[in-house]
């Protein structure tokens, strides 16, 4: 390190900042780390994202593992805003949901067309509903979820959901809401009702009597969503149902900057599920890497895979654990050149996204 180049040191600093961020986030507000979960859970019960370190924290996950261990069914809830253009960050989550389903999970996927409209992401409420039905559900169906164990719930069509939301409204105060979401996210009555009640109802509704009653439920979330789960756990206790368990995922990095989230607002630094092979190749070719510019220095110091937006794709999607590990080792040792990494990653992502283009896999 002492003799390494300034550029290399910058990449190491990115790696350190990311590690520090996730460590600080994963140990606050009652969250537990993943070390023991990974130590005790057999590999066949660890989704790819978990094996690759993309799950950084958990709360109450032991209850879900107990059900898996006893081969008993469990429930997973993961909502999706239908105004979103789906990108790889969504795919990490969908892949994990599919794996959980294969381990015995029953999926509830609320499609929050109400949220789309309330937040002004669509012009008409019906646009959000149409997006959910005509765009998002068909994409999700290509993931291969078992239809008998998957509930797609378009919010505005769920009478039970809204009735439950109204029931829950008495258990949440405005002060709690403002503290959790900030006044800037509560600018109209719809936002107050959605964030304070409907969102809670989405998380807790699998436990309604008509859906089978109280049971352990798993909610995979991004790290910024942990406060919602804390609120849901609190309300669940108040209404006498089971507080949901939580898995916290890392944000999926932008292709341009590993310290920023992949987002549709920056299309060239995001890979969308419907991108074609040329788009994929072009975007990956321009992506930020953890390798220094000089080939000599790369070989001398090695690379920093943790600070590489291209390696992040291998880490999240390469289905072969041994191959991913070997790539990591070669990268860190400076044996893997960026041309090869980008070429292999473009091929990998073209294969991974083929199903969304309606191509066979």
């Amino acid at each position: 390190m002492k003799n390494s180049s300034k550029e290399y040191q910058e990449k190491v600093a990115i790696k350190q900042r990311l590690a520090k961020y996730y460590l600080s986030q994963s140990t606050k507000n009652g969250l537990g780390g993943m070390e023991k979960v990974l130590a005790y859970t057999p590999l066949e019960y660890q989704p790819l994202a978990m094996r690759r370190g993309l799950v950084v924290a958990q709360m109450g996950y032991g209850d879900i593992l107990a059900l898996m261990s006893q081969k008993k069914p469990f429930t997973v809830v993961s909502g999706l805003n239908p105004s979103s253009q789906l990108h790889l960050g969504h795919k990490v989550l969908f892949d994990m949901l599919l794996e959980f389903q294969q381990m015995g999970g029953e999926l509830y996927i609320p499609l929050t067309d109400d949220e789309s409209y309330i937040d002004g992401k669509v012009d008409k409420l019906s646009d959000g509903t149409r997006n959910a039905k005509e765009k998002i559900i068909p994409i999700l169906q290509r993931m291969g979820f078992d239809l008998n164990k998957t509930h797609y719930l378009v919010d505005t069509e769920q009478v039970d959901l809204y009735q439950f939301a109204i029931e829950l409204s008495r258990y949440v105060s405005m002060a709690e809401l403002t503290h959790l979401f900030g006044a800037e996210s509560l600018t109209n009555p719809g936002q107050v009702f959605y964030r304070g009640c409907v969102q809670l109802a989405e998380i807790l509704m699998p436990q309604l009597p008509q859906n089978g009653g109280p049971r352990h439920t798993l909610i995979p979330v991004g790290i910024d969503q942990h406060p919602y789960i804390l609120l849901a756990r609190d309300v669940a206790k108040k209404v006498g149902i089971v507080p949901p368990s939580e898995l916290v995922l890392r944000f999926f990095p932008s292709l341009a900057n590993p310290e920023k989230k992949m987002s549709k607002s920056s299309p060239e630094s995001a890979l969308f599920l419907d991108d074609n092979p040329e788009d994929i190749k072009r975007k990956i070719k321009r992506a930020y890497t953890g390798s220094v510019g000089s080939l000599d220095d790369h070989k001398r110091f090695g690379g920093v895979p943790e600070a590489c937006s291209v390696f992040a794709l291998q880490q999240a999607f390469n289905p072969n654990d041994d191959e991913a590990e070997e790539l990591y080792r070669r990268y860190a040792d400076g044996d893997l050149l960026m041309g090869e990494l980008k070429e292999r990653t473009s091929e990998l992502m073209t294969r991974e996204l083929a199903m969304f283009r309606g191509e066979g896999v």
């Binding site: 005790y40 859970t41 057999p42 261990s69």
Partner: protein
Amino acid sequence: MQKTLGNFVTQKGRRRVLYGETYDKYGITIDSLKYYLFLEYLARIHDGDTECIVVEGDLHSVINPSVIEKDLLLQEGVQRVGQINKIFEVLNLKHVKVKLMTELFGEEKIVSLVNKVSKIVRERGDLQDLLIPTVLRNRVTQEKESGFRYAAEAIGLALNFDLKVGPPREENYDKIAQAIGQQFRRKYSSIYLRPSYSFTSDFSFYLTHPEIEEYGLTPYKAGSNKMQNLRIVLGRTSYEEIQELISTCYVPRDISYANPLVDLASIVVMSEQIRLDKIDVFDFGKQIKILVQNRDKLASKVVELLKELV
């Protein structure tokens, strides 16, 4: 622990070591064997003369008012001493003796120290506060009323020895024992063996029972946490059941986490080295790893050993 152990084995002269256990109606666990063998192992690697005492806590096994059939349990203590003596003979444990607590509490020197410690604990609220975490919540009042008799007697007894060997949960007593020991100018040392675990096949067990993961089950009480059917009890668990438990239990990939096979392997390796009189601490870990990776071989060695003992 390494420092304590290192100090002990290099100290010259006569040393007395204590391992105390209570018991329940289910019998002698294989986990107790680990402690008996460890005492002998320790004695053989100690430079000087070592006397190890296993105390069968008959009085403490019936001390709780909720215990029923106290007379039977007291009688069982006598029978256990007979069984344990036989085990010592078969395993060639020359440096270890077993005594009933009743017998030890008949010795004036021991009783004197126990009484002094009990008096201190009764009089000092700060020590009682430290002892609260050692008892179940629903028994705190009862223990306070008795002046934490169980703990005070256990500490008083242990202070008669140079070293105490026990399960990790005893660290709660040992902090207080060290404080009290200073008053009597007695150096109190203790070491803890790895926690004892059941042969559960549930891989989530230690994530949903973090306290058992950290401290283990009570090694000498088969009924600890009502897991008697998932443990090996001498003369009660059949050889077929032992093989089944060993072959079906879940163990994590990393040997340093909760793993009942490590204990079984250490029992097998210690007993072999002791009986062959070839103590080799450096080979010990290597042999354990080999056995843990071969469950069939481990099971057959455990069964072979138990056939001799029962």
